[in-house]
């Protein structure tokens, strides 16, 4: 597989970088994807453990919230969490839908769009979106930009974190830690093409078994993702603990970070130039000379001559 190369010439997009990223290479690097087959997941959380182990993260143990979700939410020390939801289907049967929630590695990442620090968020040619924390300034705009509410802010160092898709492991030809640990092959890793092929087979199998709305979750609104789900009920992704049906970068973020920023910057520059050229062409409003009252004017001039009222 040729999806495993990450070096500086394979960064295809950088945050806060209006000029193009290097893209002279011929594109032989294959896009990777992680496939999460919700229908096969047993909720053992081995992936959560593997994630914290590989990434050397130890989240607070916390306490029980009365549900299986633990920790209850993503954090700067928990790049992924299993979200458990109890769904009653049309037949009145209970389905336990367990979704591994983590960064989706969007092809059009909202975090990267919102980030003001050049190069703090990068997208590799293989599709992985990574936080280059060395350049992170801790503004947290990435969270505002993300359509999936993934990045989390660390109180330890005031920087944002999220799943890296184990870019370090992938770089060395290994699969992500969660994939490695999964006992049921609910998490698979490979080229995006291979994963979509494999997912299609899984979907066909599910449909045979009666899940007629089974499908692959690879939302087009963010250009597709490099983490894709196989869902039994792809028509209702929101039942999987609020997976958005049609995620896209919020129009507010577009209005905030889109074309208006360079336009406003240009207008600011022009306003200064306008002032300069007005001054140059029309000239200043010179001070009117002298006091209107001749007697006072003479006295004032005398005062000026004698130097004034300062110590």
């Amino acid at each position: 597989m040729r999806g495993d190369q990450i070096n500086l010439q394979d960064i295809v997009a950088r945050s806060a970088s209006p000029t193009p990223s290097p893209h002279v290479r011929s594109g032989n690097i294959q896009q990777v994807a992680k496939l999460i087959d919700v229908s096969v997941c047993i909720g053992c959380k081995a992936c959560q453990v593997a994630c914290s182990e590989w990434n050397d993260l130890r989240d607070e143990v916390g306490h029980c919230h009365g549900v299986y979700d633990n920790p209850i939410d993503l954090s700067a020390e928990s790049f992924e969490v299993m979200r458990f939801s109890e769904y009653v289907n049309e037949e009145g049967d209970l389905e336990w839908l367990i979704r591994k929630d983590n960064c989706m590695h969007c092809a059009e990442p909202g975090c990267l769009k919102a980030c003001p620090a050049p190069g703090a968020i990068v997208q590799y040619a293989n599709g992985i979106v990574d936080f280059n924390s060395e350049h992170c300034i801790g503004c947290g705009y990435c969270r505002a930009g993300c359509p999936f509410d993934i990045p989390r802010y660390s109180e330890k160092d005031n920087k944002a974190y999220k799943c890296t898709l184990c870019s370090d492991r992938v770089y060395h030809g290994l699969e992500p830690a969660c994939v490695k640990s999964c006992p049921t092959s609910a998490i698979m890793f490979g080229t995006k093409e291979a994963m979509l092929d494999y997912g299609a087979k899984r979907v066909a199998s599910l449909q045979e078994r009666g899940y007629e709305n089974a499908g692959i979750y690879d939302p087009a609104g963010v250009g597709g993702t490099h983490v894709v789900y196989v869902l039994q009920h792809a028509d209702k992704p929101e039942i999987y603990s609020g997976l958005p049906k049609d995620p896209q970068i919020s129009p507010v973020v577009e209005a905030w970070k889109g074309i208006t920023k360079p336009l406003m910057s240009a207008v600011l520059g022009l306003s200064v130039l306008t002032g300069f050229f007005h001054y140059m062409i029309k000239g200043p409003k010179e001070e009117p000379e002298d006091d209107p009252d001749p007697e006072k004017a003479a006295a004032d001039r005398e005062l000026d001559r004698r130097e004034g009222d300062r110590p």
């Binding site: 503004c139 705009y141 973020v253 600011l268 007005h278 409003k285 000379e289 209107p292 006072k296 005062l303």
Partner: protein, 232 residues
């Protein structure tokens, strides 16, 4: 000396008015520079002025709160001088005369002309918006506690309000450079009689009639009309 005498001029801005103004002005310029650094990547190198990108991110909101505090004091003190009057409308209509320096055609105005009043109201409209939206997106203190839609909206509003405020600043600074004598008024306090009569005829008349006393310069807590200098 070619310029008119100011040593016996009219006290336009007293010491507290000037101090208050320059506290705001210095803060505002630093806020604009640090804010622009994070506004658009082209300006990112401005973070170097503040010790680095993360330092800029930390510094900006504290300075914003500091500035807003003094801005509010000033806004209250300047309020009365900036109410729009009928002659202001006429003055505004004669913008071409103003820009072409045909000042003799302009109607006489009070202590502030309509342009200054407009600047006042633009700042008064944008600074509170900048404060509120800025606090909402302030990390690590507040941003984690707000819903995402609010965080996004506040970030957008902050950028647009900042744009309007910086444009207003450019207009304000240019006007000061353009109208000779006004920078000295704000740095040293006094303007000549000729300057006052030429630029602010109604204000000059009032002072001559003894109704007003230039700047007063009452401190925020004390009443108006406190003797601060040698008025004639």
């Amino acid at each position: 000396m070619s310029h008119s005498n100011v040593k016996h001029g009219i006290l336009r801005y007293g010491w507290w008015t000037r101090t208050n103004h320059w506290l705001i002005a210095i803060s505002f310029v630093l806020l604009a520079l640090s804010g622009l650094a994070l506004f658009y990547p082209t300006f990112y190198s401005l973070t170097g002025l503040f010790g680095g990108p993360e330092e800029t991110r930390i510094f900006h909101p504290y300075l914003g709160v500091f500035m807003t505090l003094f801005f509010l004091i000033q806004a209250v003190r300047f309020f009365g001088d900036n109410l729009i009057r009928r002659h202001d409308v006429q003055w505004m209509k004669q913008m071409p005369d103003l820009l072409a320096n045909r000042d003799e055609r302009l109607p006489p105005v009070g202590k502030n002309n309509a342009g200054q009043k407009l600047v006042y109201w633009l700042f008064l409209a944008t600074v509170p918006v900048l404060l509120v939206s800025g606090v909402i997106i302030w990390r690590p203190w507040f941003a984690d506690g707000v819903p995402l839609w609010l965080h996004r909206t506040a970030a957008m509003v902050h950028a647009y309000a900042a744009f309007i405020a910086i444009i207003t600043l450019v207009i304000h600074v240019y006007s000061a450079i353009w109208v000779k004598g006004s920078i000295r008024a704000m740095t040293q306090g006094r303007v000549s009689h000729a300057w006052a009569r030429h630029h602010h005829g109604l204000w000059y008349d009032e002072i001559m009639r003894g109704k007003e006393r230039g700047d007063d310069t009452a401190l925020p807590s004390t009443g108006k009309h406190i003797e601060t200098g040698k008025d004639r």
